[in-house]
Symmetry: C2
């Protein structure tokens, strides 16, 4: 694969780990937050999975996703309690050992007195062999990176802080330019045929149509996404021209 | 598999389809809404995936998830535009044909005049052969059920209305009873060891510990989930007793 091709294909997946998301008890906020950051820096998010706190499920998902995409970002399951099994699962996925990491222990000691660093808290210093740590400025217990997998906390504030740490280290594509055209109350069915033809003619960009329901009824937006400013502008102009006669 | 075993193992997966979720442009609300309904009626949600508007990805995810769980619920990609390819993808996953369905066309005619039922809008009446329709009381274009796969709209209001239609048709387990114990400001690391021991002793229930960050610092909640009221109550009592000496 040439450098050029590789550069144009930086991809990512997200793996959210936690029974509390699957039960509906906690509503996920991390998918959207990571997606926003990846879009901003120009990495294509291609897949998301949510799995329970079950080691075999985590191992299988980590291995499927790390093999397929440039980066995998996980969130959840790195706290001190018995259901926090992400670090052990990632070690198993990579086939490496895991133990209390002295660098991680030192980070925990910035927050806890030595006599409070009990067995449970030391679970948070268990890091797979060969991993780099990801600093946690909020509660100190670190995340880690091993291979192309970034393991982050589930609490959104900590996850976001870890993502800020990781961000400068990521290779990215040219950022995606996104333009939104408000179709307003024009029914989607009135422009869908023409939009399909137009999308086929502007293959260098991706064009999506997104309805939403408001108190006044359906409203539609068309979004053009692409990495080349001229191609995005050309598609946008074509869509505006197509919509113009449909606006009442 | 005995009827009893089967009854205790009603499981589900969710597949969200759409580039707009992966780009971060639209923040998903459907995962949490479906998760809440499934928990309420006693179906175990075991996995969620989000994939782009790419036929091969949708087909692969539909086939992986429908083979593994009792039910699969999909959301997104059934509108009139060129990027709405869910129905065709599901037909391909099942290896069946697809065409305009006369029942679906009749539903669309409840909302659109015959002269407005253009080719694009008729895309919304394309239903895989052998599928049952799921009524859409809001904008009429139906979802459908084929095998154990329920195909629903992406717009949350419509998705929720379709879920209400589907709900009485689902087989469910005994509902899960969920009890929340507020650990308040007790640090998770102070009870994590004891909680792990306690979780091992109460294997009939699932016990999770969930930290959240508030303006006053971390707050922790412990949640006990299970199908047997006595087992849940016993675990709850044990957790309360364990926490009591730690409360200041």
């Amino acid at each position: 694969m040439s450098q050029e091709t590789e550069k144009s294909e930086v991809t990512a997946a997200i793996l959210i780990i936690g029974d509390e998301i699957l039960s509906g008890r906690t509503k996920d906020k991390n998918i959207g937050a990571i997606a926003d950051v990846l879009t901003e820096i120009g990495i294509d998010l291609r897949e998301v999975r949510i799995v329970p706190d079950v080691m075999d499920e985590i191992v299988a998902a980590v291995n499927a996703l790390r093999a397929r995409y440039t980066y995998l970002f996980t969130s959840g399951g790195i706290g001190p309690t018995h259901d926090d099994i992400t670090a052990d699962s990632v070690a198993k996925a990579f086939g490496v050992g895991i133990n209390v990491d002295e660098r991680a222990r030192a980070m925990l000691l910035e927050r806890h007195r030595p006599e409070d660093l009990n067995e449970a808290r030391l679970r948070m210093a268990r890091i797979p062999f060969g991993a780099d740590l990801i600093a946690n400025p909020i509660s100190k217990a670190p995340g880690f990176r091993i291979g192309n997998v970034h393991v982050m906390a589930g609490v959104p504030q900590i996850m976001n802080a870890m993502l800020d740490e990781i961000r400068p280290t990521l290779t990215s594509n040219a950022p995606v330019i996104s333009e939104t055209i408000e179709a307003g109350a024009i029914p989607e069915g009135n422009f869908a045929g023409a939009l399909g033809t137009l999308a086929a003619a502007h293959a260098g960009v991706s064009i999506g149509s997104y309805p939403s329901m408001t108190a006044e009824g359906f409203r539609n937006r068309i979004v053009v996404r692409g990495r080349e400013a001229e191609a995005v502008a050309a598609a946008r102009a074509a869509i505006e021209a197509m919509l113009e006669p449909l606006r009442s």
